[in-house]
Amino acid sequence: MLDFIQQTIGGIALGCVYGLIALGFVLIYKATEVVNFAQGELMMLGAFLSFTFIATLGLNYWLGFALAVVCMAVLGSTMERLVIRPILGYPQFSIVMATIGLGLVVRSLAGMLWGTDDLRIETPFTGGVFKLGGLVIAADSLSIIVATLLLCAVLYWFFRYTKIGIAMQATSQNMLAAYYMGIPVKRIFSLIWAISAMVACIAGVLLAPITLIHANIGFLGLKAFPAAVLGGFSSIPGALVGGIIIGVVETLSGFYLPEGFKDVAAYVVLLVALMVMPQGLFGSRALKKV
């Protein structure tokens, strides 16, 4: 039983990572209906930047963290401006492919700039553990859980109650109508990419002690897709819940099922979810008027 609880907690921590990355997808999708396949690469870039600031330049952890987040915000909106803006209004397939291309470019550039070794940063949490009865929780994992919950709350509030957040929802529902209502649609796009890149950066930095930093952690982004889909793709709490479900399923199937199931568990859950309830746990279902 203790094993089960320990595994579940491990799964929740992993799930929060997926949830955190999935948040980035959800943000961009929620505001612009673009699915960003380069989200994992943004996360990787954020982790590399924080490595440069913290380990190479020797800055304080929190200062380096903040600088990396700011840099990513700028980079995120630049990418939007250069790649996504020119093809807005074209079929979604084009935009999806463009983000895949963007991911390839970012990944190989990062590989060239930072090399292919595993990099590591020292964090204030490294090595700390919390003990609760017989259970052990690493401080790194706990930091991820707390940060994910916080970010979810903040972003949920942002979309629900702020003027810009509501404008973003309007943009996603009908770009032209939003434009007529005086919403600066183009600026909204840049803004949401900046925010999403910031979230990705936070995910990357928090993840760094667990997975180490290398050019392939971007692939973790692909694991976050099932989380986002399960949560309904446009729901912020959904991303978190979906992430936790995927994380727990993956960890438990790695523990109880034969080898090999762990890697595909997330995708099996995804396919089942898509067949059974394509709108996800928190998605809204609407019918199209002709």
Binding site: T32, E33, V35, V83, P86, I87, L88, G89, Y90, P91, Q92, F93, S94, V96, M97, A98, I100, G101, L102, G103, L104, V105, V106, R107, S108, L109, G111, M112, T116, S172, Q173, N174, M175, L176, Y179, A215, L222, F225, P226, V229, F233, S234, E259, G260, D263, V264, Y267, V268, L270, L271, L274, M275, P278, G283, S284, A286, L287, K288, K289, V290
Partner: protein, 378 residues
């Protein structure tokens, strides 16, 4: 676009619309038949790869270009075809039998993958297909009694009716397959099925109200596309003579989509253009790696600067790991932004430019932007 005036319904059914087309395709056919004599071994094997990629390109154009369904998992269909070939050859089953079997099997799998497509659209479908591809990749690595796991399987060139095929024979086999598939695809796309595909792509609601059953035609499109890819997989396995699960990853699927994007999604000709482009990337990169540093050094030293330093810097750039995927990424972005109809689209534009000279207007091909409306309610 120039359309010859039609005076008769039978003209609509013709394969070639003008006499010029007959001549140019005849010349192409002669050239391809003579290719083993004209080309050396290396070039011939590149042409075989072009043919295999073109077959996959045709499959994807039917699915994405004409039916409007996205798939980021076509490497999985290729893998199923390839592994069927490898397994059957080991069991001593004749080529003709397992070639058909591979097509049928991938067709059935494609039909099953197409089922979620009934409820999904756009991005969700893309995600579902790539989840499927991941699962297939994992099964290939784990099902060791059939696939030999990560160690992979070796294959020999196929026997055709007891005749052992050499490199040249295999080339002709591939040529025959691609020609058959190309003609089949052309005919499919102007049959009622093909028109239903296009109707579904343009507006599902309109197609439905005209009596097109989306479920039937979407799954059919998936099955056809998968079956064609499976056939390409058989040829691919024989060509490489060794297959293992890590060859059929997401990046291969992305390469396939690149064929379509580069070649042009709106016409079958694009598959061939895109395949040629994709196969040429590797040799061109190799040449760049060998020759570019020396060339730049010569230019720089002619200008009276430090040639050696420049040579080193250029060599470092062209030999950097990951250069290929950087170039791939840039190509994807470039084509999507600047040449959405790919090389086939550019070809049409050049033809029109020549015909209308000097009256050509760039705006003839300007795409209409559709301002985004939520797809969530679809």
């Amino acid at each position: 676009m120039h359309q010859p005036v039609k005076t008769d319904y039978s003209q609509d059914l013709r394969l070639f619309r003008t006499a010029g087309q007959v001549w140019s395709y005849a010349a192409l056919a002669v050239f391809l038949l003579a290719a083993p004599i004209l080309f050396g071994n290396y070039l011939l094997s590149q042409v075989v790869f072009v043919i295999i990629y073109a077959i996959v390109g045709i499959a994807l154009i039917i699915l994405s270009g004409y039916t409007g369904q996205v798939s980021i998992g076509h490497a999985a269909f290729l893998a199923i075809g390839a592994y069927t070939a490898a397994y059957c050859q080991k069991q001593g089953i004749p080529f003709v039998v397992y070639f058909v079997l591979a097509g049928a099997l991938t067709g059935v799998v494609g039909y099953l993958v197409g089922l979620p497509a009934l409820r999904l659209h756009g991005v969700y479908l893309a995600i579902a297909t790539f989840a499927f591809a991941f699962i297939v990749e994992e099964i290939l690595a784990r099902w060791e009694s059939v696939t030999n796991g990560n160690e992979g399987i070796m294959l020999a060139l196929p026997d055709l009716f007891g005749l052992k095929l050499g490199d040249t024979g295999f080339y002709y086999l591939c040529l025959a397959v691609v020609t058959t598939i190309m003609l089949g695809a052309i005919n499919l796309l102007r049959s009622p099925t093909g028109r239903a595909f296009v109707a579904l792509r343009d507006s599902e609601t309109a197609a439905k109200s005209m009596g097109v059953n989306p479920a039937r035609y979407k799954t059919r499109s998936f099955a056809i596309s998968a079956a064609i890819t499976g056939l390409a997989g058989v040829l691919y396995a024989h060509k490489l003579s060794f297959i293992s699960p890590e060859m059929f990853t997401l990046s291969l699927s992305i390469e396939f989509i690149m064929i379509v994007i580069i070649g042009g999604i709106a016409s079958l000709r694009g598959a061939v253009f895109g395949a040629i482009f994709m196969i040429m990337v590797d040799p061109v990169l190799a040449t760049l790696k060998d020759d570019l540093p020396g060339l730049v050094a010569n230019v720089v030293s002619v200008l009276g600067l430090n040639g050696g330093g420049a040579q080193e810097a250029v060599a470092r750039v062209v030999n950097a790991p990951g250069l290929k995927s950087l170039i791939f990424g840039l190509i994807i972005i470039f084509f999507i932004i600047f040449e959405p109809f790919g090389l086939a689209g550019r070809w049409e534009k050049i033809k029109l430019y020549v015909r209308l000279f000097p009256l050509y207007k760039a705006t003839t091909f300007k795409r209409q932007k559709m301002y985004l409306k939520s797809e969530r309610g679809r």
